[in-house]
């Protein structure tokens, strides 16, 4: 299982990466493996305000439909439109081309409350 050291994590299996004050969000390698083949991803439109821990979207696999929760609150500024045509990217590159959204955080310090790689790895064992 791949858990990159430089990312922060939630216990609900989302990852967050700081990029010039904004935060890119996806689901972890563990999550994509547990979900199985992802067939549909529902994401909010750019401009949507989200709360920390609030619903961010849904990932549908051949097994189930799962909610994604926002690791931090703020405004969605970018959405991965490629996933509409190629949801398999979520399985192939969960930390790369399978990212979900970029959020402009209302309080960047919320990131500090998230798990680091070691703590997330421990939570999945």
């Amino acid at each position: 299982m791949d858990v990159p050291e430089e990312l922060r994590y939630t216990s609900d299996h989302e990852w967050a990466r700081t990029e010039e004050g904004r935060i890119r969000i996806g689901i972890t390698d563990f999550a994509q493996d547990a979900l199985g083949d992802v067939v549909f991803v529902e994401l909010p439109a750019a401009g949507t305000a989200v709360e920390k821990g609030g619903p961010l979207g849904e990932v549908e696999s051949t097994k189930s439909v799962s909610q994604i929760y926002a690791p931090v609150g703020g405004t969605v500024v970018e959405v991965n439109g490629d996933l509409a045509e190629a949801p398999e990217k979520l399985n192939e590159e969960p930390y790369g081309s399978g990212w979900l959204v970029v959020i402009d955080p209302s309080d960047a310090s919320e990131l500090d409350g998230l798990l680091d790689a070691a703590a997330y790895r421990a939570s999945t064992e």
Partner: protein, 513 residues
């Protein structure tokens, strides 16, 4: 000294409900009706009768007429019947053999119910007939409502919902009406993490938000997690008992008390009612709303798209909100229709799937109270017997006696040999059985959810257990799952690519690559 003989099972013809003798001819794709079409061919040709004939343009205004003919397939009755018969020979069905699809309760449906439902006096009645012409039908519907209330321990029922999910939506709308009448606008409905996928979907459709509660170490609802989630904003909780793990909810009295204390309602998802029929009643456990799957517990047609039937029974305080019109007994005898005063309205354009309701009425009358209890007892016995036979071969999470179904896990098998639940399911098809439900409930890794039901004989349950043990033994002997990954090799359609089917949907035959 010779080693002790291991238990062996004959591989020849077994009396169990295996479908290995099914006539599955050939491997070619069945052409679509469009591909069978031949220009000008008709299903029937009318003889010249000497009656005057009109053209469509004489009867229909020109602006309403098509200029191009509809591209319908042109086939003879003979071609059509052969096409569907060939397709039907490629289906696995309850009438063909054991169908242990957990949670779905794929029981055998007694043919006597079909026979009665096919009688013209029932089948050829228009639903708009005035009550005085359909007193027999109204009596059936009234009595069915009463029997379902007796079985569930509730006060009143509606027969309108057309299936389980429609019943769930009905229940949630009743919940909303109940709270609204008290001037309350509650927003949340609680669902355990082991619940059926339809529950959260119905909650959303009903305009509520889902709050999930966890499962404790014994497979029941985690009471601390539930108490933490309960507040004045909770409209109700949706539960099945037994749960989707096939386990009886031991804390149901505490759960009911805690939920009622905040003014919320308890909804019973009737998917698993088969296990408790005639033994314990949802109403006595404290539930306020119950939906029943007549196509599960009451052995009406199921699979292949139904039609299903999902009546909803409620406690007295919710009776005034039920959908209408309901069949009612008139003072002084006879029957009619009446709509409850605060009815949430119609849930079906007519009176529900009436011929399915009739089958359930017959099923209930055939069994009687003692027979229904026997149904539950044998269903539970079969599931527990099967589970014990699988001990040591598959993992048994939440290891305690089950109700009508057992959830086992292929997690250890996967670690040892790479054999996954999906491979077990596919290999089982080659051994003549329909697969159990796999990967559900979601909280069990590599889950196989097996529901033998009471309609399978001990010989069939034994043959099914042998097949499940055989699949695991083959992988363990080989040290890998390579062979099972190739399964099914003997079915008309082999392993399908589920992910590709969902990602690249081809909805019509002419879009096939």
């Amino acid at each position: 000294m010779t080693p002790p003989e291991t238990e062996t099972h004959p591989t020849g013809p077994l009396p169990g409900g295996r479908a290995l003798s099914a006539p599955l001819l050939g491997r070619e794709d069945e052409p679509t009706l469009f591909e069978l079409s031949s220009p000008g061919r008709r299903a029937s040709s009318l003889r010249t009768t000497g009656l005057p004939q009109w053209g469509a343009d004489e009867l229909v205004p020109a602006s309403w007429l098509r200029t191009e003919p509809v591209p319908l397939p042109e086939v003879s009755e003979r071609d059509l019947a052969a096409h569907f018969t060939r397709l039907s020979h490629r289906q696995y069905s309850v009438d063909l053999g054991a169908y242990p699809l957990g949670s779905c309760t794929m029981k055998y449906n007694p043919k006597v119910c079909d026979e009665a439902a096919a009688r013209a006096g029932f089948a050829n009645v228009h639903p708009a007939s005035p009550p005085f012409l359909v007193q027999g039908w109204l009596q059936v519907l009234c009595e069915l409502e009463e029997m379902l209330c007796e079985v569930t321990g509730m006060a009143a029922a509606t027969l309108q919902p057309a299936a389980g999910a429609a019943g769930e939506l009905t229940g949630l709308l009743l919940m909303r009406a109940y709270h609204a009448a008290r001037g309350q606008d509650r927003r949340k409905v609680i669902i355990p993490d082991s619940a059926h996928g339809t529950n959260p979907a119905s909650v959303t459709l009903g305009g509520y938000e889902v709050t999930t509660v966890g499962t404790n170490a014994r497979g029941g609802v985690d009471l601390d997690s539930l108490r933490a989630a309960l507040d004045e904003d909770v409209a109700g909780i949706m539960l099945t008992n037994p749960s989707t793990l096939g386990l009886f909810e031991e804390d149901i009295s505490e759960i009911a008390a805690a939920v009622h204390e905040v003014g919320a309602l308890l909804y019973y998802d009737g998917a698993n009612l088969n296990a408790i029929l005639g033994v314990v009643r949802p109403g006595d456990m404290g539930f306020d709303i119950v939906h029943l799957n007549l196509h599960k517990t009451f052995a009406t047609p199921h699979g292949g798209g139904g039609p299903g039937s999902g009546p909803v029974a409620v406690s007295a305080r919710l009776a005034d909100y039920l959908p209408g019109p309901r069949p009612v007994r008139l003072e002084g005898g006879g029957f009619s229709w009446a709509t409850p005063e605060l009815s949430i309205g119609r849930l079906h354009s007519w009176h529900g799937n009436a011929l399915v309701l009739l089958r359930a009425w017959i099923y209930l009358r055939l069994h009687g109270p003692d027979g229904l209890r026997r149904v539950a007892e044998i269903a539970v016995l079969n599931a527990n017997w099967l589970r014990e036979r699988l001990r040591g071969t598959y993992d048994l999470p939440y290891d305690r006696p089950v109700m009508h179904e057992c959830v086992v896990s292929a997690a250890s098998l996967e670690r040892e040999t790479g054999l996954r639940a999906i491979d077990v399911a596919k290999r089982l098809l080659e051994l003549g059985f329909h697969s159990p439900t796999v990967y559900f409930p979601l909280i069990v890794e590599e889950a196989l959810m097996i529901e033998p039901t009471e309609t399978e004989s001990p010989q069939t349950v034994a043959a099914l257990a042998d097949a499940l043990v055989q699949v695991a033994a083959e992988a363990r002997a080989a040290g890998d799952a390579a062979s099972a990954r190739q399964a099914p090799r003997t079915t008309p359609v082999r392993r399908v690519d589920e992910a590709r089917a969902a990602r690249r949907l081809v909805a019509t035959y002419d879009q096939r690559p």
